[in-house]
Amino acid sequence: MATFPLQQPVPLVDQVGVEERAAKFTKRSIKNEAKAVGLKMAVSMMDLTTLEGADSKGKVTHLCRKALLPMADRYDCPPCAAVCVYPNLVAHAVSELKGTGIPVASVATGFPSGQYPLDLRIADVRDAVSFGAEEIDMVISRGRFLEGELNEVFDEIAATKEACGKAHLKVIFETGELQTYDNVRLISQIAIEAGADFIKTSTGKVSPAATLPVTLVMVETARDHFLATGKKIGVKPAGGLRTAKQALQFLVMVKETVGEDWLTPELFRFGASSLLSDVELQLAKLVDGNYQSAKYFSKG
C-alpha cells in the first residue's frame, strides 16, 4: 500500500500523565439538568449489543424493541443509536428495525479473536453487509500488530473498509491486549489513515476494556487528525461500561477534549449491553424524584 508509512505524526504518551488527566474528568460534578441531558445523550449514543453464543431471534427481537423505546414515553428518553449483533442475526434484526431509522451493526472479521485467514474475514464482512448491516465492527490482528507487522494491519483494515462498501467501519483494537498507551495511539492513527469511520476500544470479551484513559488517547488522536485534515472520525468505547456515572465521565472527557461537535451519535458511541439499565434507573430518579427497584425496568 502506498499510503503507509503514516501521514500524520504519532506523539508519545506518558502513562502517568494520561491517567492523571483521565482521573480529573471523573471529578466533574454532573447534576440536575446537566445529568438529564447527559444521560439521554448517552442513550442516543448507545449501540445496544448482544454477542453471546446463545443469542436467539427472540432475544434480538427484544433488544430491537428496547433500542426503539428504551423507557416509557413520559421519561422522554431517545432511542438508541444502533443494535449490534453477530452476522447470523443481522437479517432478523434488520427486519425487526425496518422503517425505524435505527441501523443494525454487526461484528465481523472473525470476531472476537480475528484469528482467521483474511479471505474468510473479508467474506464475513461481505455476508453481514449483504444481510443488511449498515455498520461493521471489525477486529484487528492484535498478534500481527504486536509482532510489528504494521503494514499488514493497515492493509487488512483498508481491505475490510473496501468490503464494507457503504457500511460504516468501526475498527476494534482490543486495547486490553495492546496494553500500552503508545500502542493505542499508534493503532488509532493507523486505523484512521487506513479508512476507519470509527475507532473502538474493545470486543467486550477481554478485560480491561474501555477505560477512560485509553478512550482519551483515542479521542485525542481523532481530534489531532481532525485539526490536521478536517476529517471527523468517531470513537466508540465498548466493554466494561456498566454505570450511568461512567457514561457521564466519558461524555465530560469528550466535551472537554474534542469539543461539542463530537457529542453526537455520528461521532461517539457506547458499546454496552448492561449500561442502559443503570441509565434508566438514574433517568427515572431525575423524573420521579426517587430511586426505583431495577425490577421495574425491562432487561431488553
Binding site: 506523539p11 508519545l12 500523565g17 494520561v18 488527566r21 471529578k27 439538568e33 447527559g38 461539542e260
Partner: protein, 483 residues
C-alpha cells in the same frame, strides 16, 4: 481553518458544595491556649475575594499582644513542651492530624470561602496535605536521634513564623508541624487577607488538648509580622512570602543569633523538549501555571518550549485554556477561582499591561467572568523576550510567559537566567536527558514529566533569591534543631 468548538452543549449545571459550616462574625487572637480579644480592641475586615464583600472581622494584634504570645510560647517551651517525652509530643501531632482529617470538608470549604481557591483544590490538595504533614512530622518526633545520628538534637526554642496567603492552612502546617515535632513552641502570624482557617486550626489544637502556649496565633498586617520577627524573645524565624519582605527580614535578623529560613518567590522554567509526550506536557504546563490561580511560588511561570514544536504547542495551549472553568470557588466544577485580593489583582493586571506594552502577544481565554469579586482570565504571552518584565518578575497570577530555545544548552542557560531558583520542570520521554538537564539547573525542586507535586516526605526550598533552608522531609527538621 477547522477548529474545535467548546460551547454550551452538555453544559454543566451549577454544582455548589453545600456549606454546613459558617464563618464566625469575628475572630480573636489565640494566646496561651485561649481566644483573646486584642488589647487595642481593633479589628480589620477579611474579604471573600469571590464577592469582594467583607465576611468576617479579624483581631488586630498590638505589640503588647505579640509580647504576650511570645511570653506564653516561652513558658510553654521551658516548662512543658521541651521537657515532654518526645513520643508524647508525637501523640499530640498524630491527634491533630486525625482531627484535621475528620474536619477536612469543613476546613476545605472555609479555605475556599476565605482565599478564593477552587473547592476542588482545597478539598483534594490543600487539606489532605495539611493532615499528611502533621502525620509525617508526628512520626519524626521520637526518632530525631535517627535523623541526626550521633548528634543528640535539641530544640531551638520559640519560633516566630510568618506565612503567606496562597496556601493559608498548608503553610501553617509546613511551619507548625516540624517545629512542634522537634520540641519548639510557636508564635505564628497568618497573612492579613487569609487569617480565618488558621483560627479554625487553633480550635483543633484546643480540641487535641495541645498544652497552652505551645502554638500562639497573632493576626494582623505587615507591621505585626515585622514586630514579631524583630522581637528579642524568639530564637528562630521562618518566613514564606515575597522576596522583598524576605530581604528585609534577613536584615532584621542578621547578627541577632536567630536561626532563619526563607521561602520566597520564584519564576520557574517549565522546559518542554520536542521529544516530550506532548499532550501530557500541555496538561503539565496548564497545571503548572493555573493551579491555585497561579498564586504559587513554585509555579511554572516561564514555559521554555523547543522551537520546532512551538507553534503546535501554543495552538494546543490556546485550545486548552478555553476549557478551563473560571468562577465560584465553591462550585465543584471550578478550575480557577478568585484572585486572592484586590491588591494582587492590581499587580497582575499591571504586569499583563507591561507585557502588552513591551510587545509580547497576549492569548486569553474567552471565558466570562463573574460581575463582582476579583477575577482574572487564564492567559499566556507569546513573543516574550527574556528581558521583558513578564519574563523576569514573579506575576503570581494565572499568566504564563512562553519563550523558545533551540538546543539543550540554550534551554539550560535560559532556565537559569533568573534571580530565582525555586523549581523547574523538564518534559522529555528520554530518561537520560532528564538527568542531564536537571543536573545543570539551579532550582530546589525539579519535576520531570509532571509539575506541582507535593509530598511531606520531600524537601522543598530555593536557591538564590528564592530563599534558603528546606521545609518538608528529613531536611525540614534541620531548621528546628540545634545539633
Amino acid at each position: 481553518m477547522s477548529d474545535l468548538k467548546f460551547g454550551s452543549a452538555f453544559e454543566y449545571a451549577p454544582a455548589p458544595e453545600s456549606t454546613p459550616v459558617k464563618l464566625k462574625k469575628q475572630y480573636e487572637l489565640f494566646i496561651d491556649g485561649e481566644f483573646r480579644a486584642p488589647s487595642g480592641g481593633r479589628y480589620f475586615g477579611s474579604v471573600n475575594p469571590a464577592t469582594g464583600k467583607r465576611h468576617a472581622r479579624i483581631a488586630k494584634a498590638e505589640p503588647a499582644d505579640v509580647d504576650a504570645a511570645i511570653q506564653s510560647a516561652r513558658n510553654a517551651y521551658s516548662k512543658v513542651w521541651s521537657k515532654m517525652a518526645s513520643s508524647e509530643r508525637g501523640k499530640y501531632l498524630f491527634r491533630i492530624a486525625r482531627i484535621i482529617q475528620e474536619k477536612a470538608r469543613e476546613l476545605a470549604i472555609l479555605e475556599s470561602m476565605d482565599g478564593g481557591k477552587p473547592i476542588k483544590e482545597s478539598r483534594d490538595v490543600d487539606v489532605p496535605l495539611v493532615a499528611a504533614h502533621f502525620f509525617y512530622y508526628a512520626g519524626w518526633a521520637d526518632k530525631l536521634d535517627y535523623a541526626f545520628p550521633g548528634r543528640s538534637p535539641k530544640p531551638v526554642g520559640v519560633a516566630g513564623q510568618v506565612i503567606p496567603w496562597n496556601f493559608p492552612l498548608l503553610m501553617a502546617a509546613w511551619k507548625i508541624a516540624p517545629a512542634l515535632a522537634c520540641g519548639n513552641t510557636v508564635v505564628l502570624k497568618p497573612a492579613e487577607t487569609t487569617s480565618v482557617t488558621v483560627m479554625h486550626l487553633a480550635e483543633i489544637f484546643q480540641e487535641a488538648g495541645l498544652p497552652d502556649g505551645v502554638v500562639n496565633i497573632v493576626t494582623g498586617a505587615g507591621d505585626t509580622g515585622e514586630y514579631l520577627v524583630g522581637h528579642d524573645g524568639i530564637d528562630k524565624v521562618a518566613f514564606t512570602g515575597s522576596t522583598s519582605v524576605g530581604k528585609k527580614i534577613a536584615e532584621t535578623v542578621a547578627g541577632t543569633g536567630k536561626k532563619l529560613t526563607l521561602e520566597l518567590g520564584g519564576k520557574a522554567a517549565n522546559i518542554v523538549f520536542d521529544d516530550a509526550p506532548i499532550e501530557q506536557a500541555v496538561e503539565g504546563v496548564i497545571n503548572g501555571i493555573y493551579f491555585n490561580q497561579g498564586h504559587v511560588c513554585c509555579a511554572g511561570s516561564r514555559l521554555l518550549v523547543q522551537e520546532s514544536i512551538h507553534d503546535d504547542f501554543v495552538a494546543r495551549l490556546e485550545r486548552r485554556i478555553e476549557t478551563l472553568r473560571v468562577g465560584d470557588p465553591l462550585d465543584k466544577n471550578t478550575d480557577i477561582g478568585a484572585i486572592n485580593s484586590k491588591e494582587q489583582l492590581g499587580r497582575i493586571t499591571s504586569l499583563i499591561g507591561s507585557g502588552i506594552d513591551e510587545g509580547a502577544t497576549l492569548h486569553e481565554s474567552s471565558c466570562p467572568l463573574p460581575d463582582s469579586g476579583y477575577w482574572c482570565r487564564p492567559s499566556f504571552f507569546t513573543n516574550v523576550s527574556p528581558s521583558h518584565r513578564i519574563a523576569r518578575e514573579e506575576i503570581f497570577g494565572p499568566v504564563l510567559s512562553v519563550l523558545t530555545f533551540r538546543t539543550p544548552a540554550e534551554a539550560v542557560s535560559r532556565a537559569n537566567d533568573t534571580c530565582y531558583g525555586l523549581s523547574a520542570g523538564i518534559w522529555t520521554d528520554k530518561g537520560s536527558k532528564i538527568f542531564q538537564i536537571a543536573d545543570q539547573i539551579q532550582a530546589g525542586v525539579i519535576w520531570a514529566n509532571t509539575f506541582n507535586k507535593f509530598d511531606p516526605t520531600s524537601p522543598f526550598g530555593g536557591y538564590l533569591e528564592s530563599g534558603f533552608g528546606r521545609e518538608g522531609g528529613m531536611h525540614g527538621l534541620m531548621p528546628y534543631v540545634q545539633i
